[in-house]
């Protein structure tokens, strides 16, 4: 479903991604972990071309983007449709209700009939447990509810791949579970997803593969058991120690 080849990204002189290779099968959930500043966000953003990679190729469901040369706008738009991003800070549209947030893509971008888009949005919001909150504005919702709207908004475009960038790290601890639950259901339904998260329990329960990223490279990859219980690389061990200690403080 996703094939990434030698992906590079630099900001000026700062090389943030130093050659990423990755294949993800259809229906797989991949969890990416790694220290702050290691390039996880940049990596996800490159897959949705919110940042333009400096070199490399990405193919999603047969749509290929070669970043060694500038891409025409049309191709970027076409490629971007293959995936949708869920942001750390939700980034809901504050001037629209939950329902309007979810309808916006189908109505404005896909030009779907309003009534049809509305029915679909209602269905999605019901699915993420927000049937009662459809007509509220984002400021009237808790962080967990906002993030679930964010997930519904991304799903409304029927992407082949869902990208999650630390979707629960801005949430109060008691709200994390409701968001992870929705993501878990998605994974069980067979959605292909790439998730940056440090929620170990989610990774252990849901991920088919865990990647450890550091300084712009994938240092180690394996099943959750391999990475969490038997890490091979020294840097992976150090990092896991750090986050496990942080959990127990």
């Amino acid at each position: 479903m996703i094939a990434i080849n030698n992906l590079h990204k630099s900001f000026g002189d700062l090389e943030v991604l130093k050659g990423i290779d990755l294949n993800v099968e259809k229906g797989q959930a991949v969890v990416v972990i790694g220290p702050s500043g290691s390039g996880k966000t940049t990596f996800l953003r490159c897959l949705n071309i919110l940042e333009t990679p400096t070199a490399g190729t990405v193919a999603i469901d047969g749509h290929m983007a070669d970043f060694s040369k500038p891409l025409p706008k049309k191709q970027i738009m076409g490629f971007r449709k293959q995936s949708a991003m869920v942001f750390q800070h939700y980034n809901l549209f504050p001037h629209m209700t939950a329902l309007e947030n979810v309808m916006e893509g189908p109505v404005t971008v896909q030009k779907i009939d309003r009534a049809e888009a509305r029915a679909k949005a209602e269905e999605l919001l019901t699915k993420v447990g927000l049937k009662e909150k459809m007509n509220e504005y984002p400021f009237q919702l808790s962080g967990g509810q906002q993030q679930r709207v964010g997930i519904a908004r991304a799903l409304a475009l029927e992407p082949k791949v869902m990208l999650f960038d630390e979707p629960t790290s801005a949430l109060d601890p008691e709200l994390v579970g409701e968001v992870l639950q929705v993501m878990k259901e998605l994974a069980l339904e067979g959605m292909t997803m790439v998730v940056v998260t440090h929620e170990m329990r989610f990774a252990k329960g849901v991920a088919d593969e865990v990647l450890f990223m550091d300084a712009g490279r994938i240092i180690e990859r394996g099943t959750p058991q391999e990475i969490f219980d038997h890490p091979k690389e020294e840097r992976t061990k150090q990092f896991l120690n750090l986050i496990q200690n942080a959990d127990t403080i």
Partner: protein, 244 residues
């Protein structure tokens, strides 16, 4: 000097309150000039304001977009335009348009020259407001728009400008209210708007204090009504932000 002025003021008031005929004459003039003033407002002041503000806002939005665009050429054109308009007096701009341009063969009607001058003015001043408002919208809003597949213009129209409008209502209301008052400068290029009517009537009966005060009062009433509209607009746009 001071004594002299006080003396005159006293005479004016005395003449009103002790001389019934004088009072009657003033009331008569006030009454009979009310309609011509209002006519000037309805024929010119209000249309000038509304048309110039509408054209000005379109111009301002385009200028703001040029300023934030990545195309250097657009940026420079926009900067020069804003700099010229903000750096020269409105009266000079109007004079150039109406009295100056005929020299090079471009003759404009007073009303047309006024619309042009005021629109260019609003365009420059409001572009700074709109630019700041657009830049104040978090980058995440652009990204969220992009990730659901929106093009630049769709994101602008559906996501960014609606939010930027909310932020710009108070400063744009100021621009609008200034414009209402600035239209009095059109009197100088022979547009018979409200203030010019007052001048014409006063030139005829010499009651300058009365007529200019009357015109002033009408401007004040217009601006007061506008500030009420501003309040309502702000409430309407604030429905989606936390009251906390």
């Amino acid at each position: 000097m001071k004594f002299h002025r006080n003396g005159l003021a006293k005479m004016y008031l005395n003449s009103i309150f002790t001389n019934p005929e004088r009072l009657e004459r003033l009331l008569d003039i006030a009454q009979s000039s009310f309609l011509p003033l209002l006519e000037g407002a309805i024929q010119y002041t209000i249309p000038l304001t509304l048309i110039s503000f509408t054209i000005g806002l379109i111009l301002a939005t385009l200028t703001a977009l040029a300023r934030i665009s990545t195309v250097k050429f657009f940026q420079i054109i926009a900067r020069i335009y804003v700099s010229i308009i903000r750096g020269t007096p409105l009266l000079v701009q109007l004079s150039i348009l109406f009295y100056g341009l005929p020299t090079v063969g471009i003759t404009l009607e007073p009303f047309t020259a006024a619309i042009l001058g005021f629109s260019l003015n609003v365009g420059a001043y409001a572009s700074e407001v709109i630019r700041a408002a657009i830049l104040s919208i978090p980058k995440g809003q652009w990204e969220a728009a992009n990730t659901i597949g929106m093009s630049y213009s769709q994101a602008l129209k559906r996501i960014i400008l609606p939010q930027a409008s909310r932020v710009s209502i108070p400063p744009l209301s100021n621009t609008f209210i200034s414009l209402v008052k600035d239209t009095s400068l059109a009197s100088f290029i022979l547009v018979t708007e409200m203030f010019r009517r007052a001048q014409e009537i006063a030139a005829f009966n010499y009651e300058f204090l009365l007529l200019y005060s009357q015109a002033g009062l009408l401007y004040w009433i217009f601006c007061f009504l506008l500030s009420l509209v501003q309040g309502r607009l702000e409430n309407r746009f604030d429905r989606y932000v936390s009251k906390a």
